[in-house]
């Protein structure tokens, strides 16, 4: 069985981990797995790769879409030729894929980010969000849930002042973090649900007088954040195990390709050592709840 993994961007360290998990899964199933992808995170490049994969007659394509609609025609073409299509991390249009493996419930991600922030700033104050690119589907979904959570009465003393975009670029994220601290003098906290954003912001904060005073949380990898958790810049942040995400996606794709499942709600399949999963609404499978990382457990992880 030939299964290909198509990340948003080929050398993005997070995606590399996910796809490693995916290829592991396929190898466990005695198939051939590979990772191909664009070096620019653009939807149009992904379309070229999808078409190549169709020509190469892959059994399944596992993709993190840069744009939900731009990749849809190519994915539909793939499905019409009998190729199983699974999305992960960033979904495509639901009718252009059979299964979407979500790393965690989008709602849960958004809401838990706000909960962590509220805990860290003592329940009141001004906060800002440092996001990635303005168009990223997953970012916007999470941010919408964050805003919704903030409407709850227990957060009435917390004010979301601004959403800034770091474009998943170190320098830009750095400058945006600076900008936030400059333009909002009484800023108490920043939520950065992007690994590039949170590490750039942490880097800036830890060498500035704001260290420890302005709280930073978000989604980051333990390896990137370890230093900042130990030096007190960051108290707690969250993520999930990207390797497991890929692993689950790989098993889902294999199950689809071999006809075990067809993407209908309620179907079950076993994802190797992760156990049994049931397909939910609109073909979505959730990996599990996000993991919180702090001083106590950060050394237990290596990714």
């Amino acid at each position: 069985m030939k299964i290909a993994f198509l990340p948003k961007e080929i050398d993005n360290p997070y995606e590399v981990l996910v796809d490693k998990g995916g290829v592991n899964a396929v190898t466990e199933l005695k198939g051939t797995g590979k990772e191909v992808g664009p070096s620019d995170a653009s939807a149009s490049s992904q379309v070229s790769y999808i078409n190549t994969l169709i020509q190469q007659k892959q059994d399944a394509i596992v993709i993190a879409a840069n744009d939900p609609n731009a990749v849809a025609p190519a994915l539909k073409d793939a499905m019409s030729k009998g190729i199983a299509v699974v999305t992960y991390d960033s979904d495509a249009a639901p009718d252009a894929r059979q299964i979407f493996v979500n790393q965690a419930n989008s709602e849960e991600i958004g809401r838990s980010e706000v909960k962590m922030m509220a805990e860290q700033i003592g329940g009141s104050g001004k906060i800002a969000i440092l996001s990635a690119t303005p168009n990223a589907t997953n970012q916007n979904t999470w941010i919408d849930f964050m805003k919704d959570e903030l409407k709850k009465p227990e957060y009435k003393n917390i004010e979301l002042v601004k959403v800034a975009y770091g474009d998943d670029d170190d320098q830009k994220s750095f400058q945006e973090a600076q900008g936030l601290l400059q333009s909002i003098p009484d800023l108490k906290g920043i939520i950065s649900p992007t690994t590039v954003g949170i590490s750039a912001a942490a880097r800036y904060l830890s060498s500035s007088p704001y260290k420890g005073q302005v709280k930073l949380t978000g989604l980051g990898t333990p390896n990137q954040m370890r230093e900042f958790v130990k030096d007190g810049t960051v108290t707690e942040f969250a993520l999930w195990d990207p390797v497991n995400l890929g692993y689950l996606a790989g098993y889902a794709a294999a199950a689809l390709a071999s006809g075990q499942i067809s993407g209908e709600k309620g179907e079950k399949f076993t994802a190797g050592k992760l156990g049994e999963y049931t397909i939910g609404d609109k073909g979505e499978i959730i990996l599990g709840p996000p993991t919180k990382f702090n001083k106590d457990n950060i050394d237990d992880y290596d990714f």
Partner: protein, 343 residues
């Protein structure tokens, strides 16, 4: 000069053939679906490259073409989202592209600013305006009756409709550049704008129009792009200008102006598209593809020098097409200006 031109075009044709021969050895290359995809993949780049060719021939450049495409795509999305009919959107977007080209034209031709610097500025400005229009939205749901024009091939063949458009544009540019008087004057301008002016060529008017043309073609490319991907975003075609410039340079067009053919650019586009397709099929990583593109670019300027080591570059020793018109005096000044940039 014609002799030397043909030398590089021949290399290109050989390269093209080699790519396609090697390609047929790869699984899945020689199928209709793949060939039509290969052609489609480069349709917008081809339009941009054809738009750039006349401009580069006159010794100028336009790096803002991809940002114009992005802006027009964003404009298409905004208007579509607001409920305007697609038939009305098309002429408006093309007009917008021409206007953006006009801004470049005014700055380069009327203000006399260097085109490299200006178009780096408009590259940023137009892309920024695209974000102002669409922000973080992506508009989709473009009309089902028009989309196949951008995505499909003529039923039963490998030829996409979009490629027909590209071929038509290519043919028109070829006529403009190689057949008309204006085309010949492009070469004259590239070889020496002052002299050309003294010969009666309306240099400013021509350069101005070329930028308008470039904007219009970028707008047309944006329509194809938006329909093909069914997605209007502010970052559409981000970075495509470098690919288009690479195609033009690879096609044997001199960056100084005064030399180059449509055939060269067309062959370069075909070679690049084919190469990309073959490398993808063989799972050659993106990195290697980048390296190959870069090496080809360097070779494209190195090879002519290696073949004719003693001749100083860009000075036509054989009677050129330009000599058919009267030249006032020996225009040594501009010849020297163009020679060996910086050395």
């Amino acid at each position: 000069m014609l002799g030397r031109l043909l030398r590089w075009e021949s290399v290109l044709i050989v390269l093209c053939v080699a790519v396609f021969v090697a390609g047929s050895a790869s699984d899945g290359f020689a199928e209709q679906g793949n060939i039509s995809f290969l052609l489609l993949d480069y349709s917008e780049v081809a339009l941009l490259a054809f738009a750039l060719l006349p401009i580069v021939l006159t010794g100028e450049i336009d790096l803002s073409v991809a940002s114009t495409l992005g802006f027009c795509s964003a404009l298409t999305g905004t208007l579509w989202d607001a409920g305007m009919s697609f038939e009305t959107i098309v002429p408006i977007v093309i007009l917008a592209g021409i206007l953006l080209g006009a801004v470049n034209a005014v700055l380069v031709v009327l203000f006399g600013l260097p085109s490299l610097a200006v178009t780096i500025g408009t590259l940023g400005l137009y892309r920024g305006l695209a974000y102002v229009l669409l922000g973080d939205r992506a508009v989709t749901g473009f009309p089902e009756n028009y989309r196949p024009l951008a995505t499909d091939a003529i039923p039963g063949t490998f030829l996409p409709y979009a490629t027909i458009l590209v071929l038509v544009v290519g043919a028109l540019i070829a006529v403009l550049v190689h057949v008309t008087t204006i085309g010949r004057s492009l070469y004259a301008i590239g070889l020496g704008a002052q002299t050309a002016r003294f010969s009666g060529i309306r240099v400013n008017r021509i350069k101005f129009s070329l930028y308008l043309l470039s904007g219009g073609l970028a707008a047309i490319a944006s329509l194809i792009y938006t329909l093909r991907y069914n997605s209007a975003r502010a970052d559409n075609a981000n970075g495509m200008e470098l690919v288009a410039v690479a195609a033009v340079l690879l096609g044997g067009v001199s960056i100084f102006g005064g030399r180059g053919t449509v055939l060269g650019v067309a062959t370069a586009l075909l070679a690049m598209a084919g190469l990309r397709n073959v490398l993808f099929l063989d799972d050659v990583s993106n990195e290697i593809q980048n390296v190959i593109t870069g090496l080809l670019l360097i070779l494209s300027v190195l090879v002519p020098v290696v073949f004719k080591p003693r001749r100083t570059k860009d000075v036509p020793l054989e009677p050129s097409v330009v000599d058919t018109e009267r030249r006032t005096g020996a225009d040594t000044g501009s010849r020297l200006r163009r020679d060996h940039q910086g050395v």
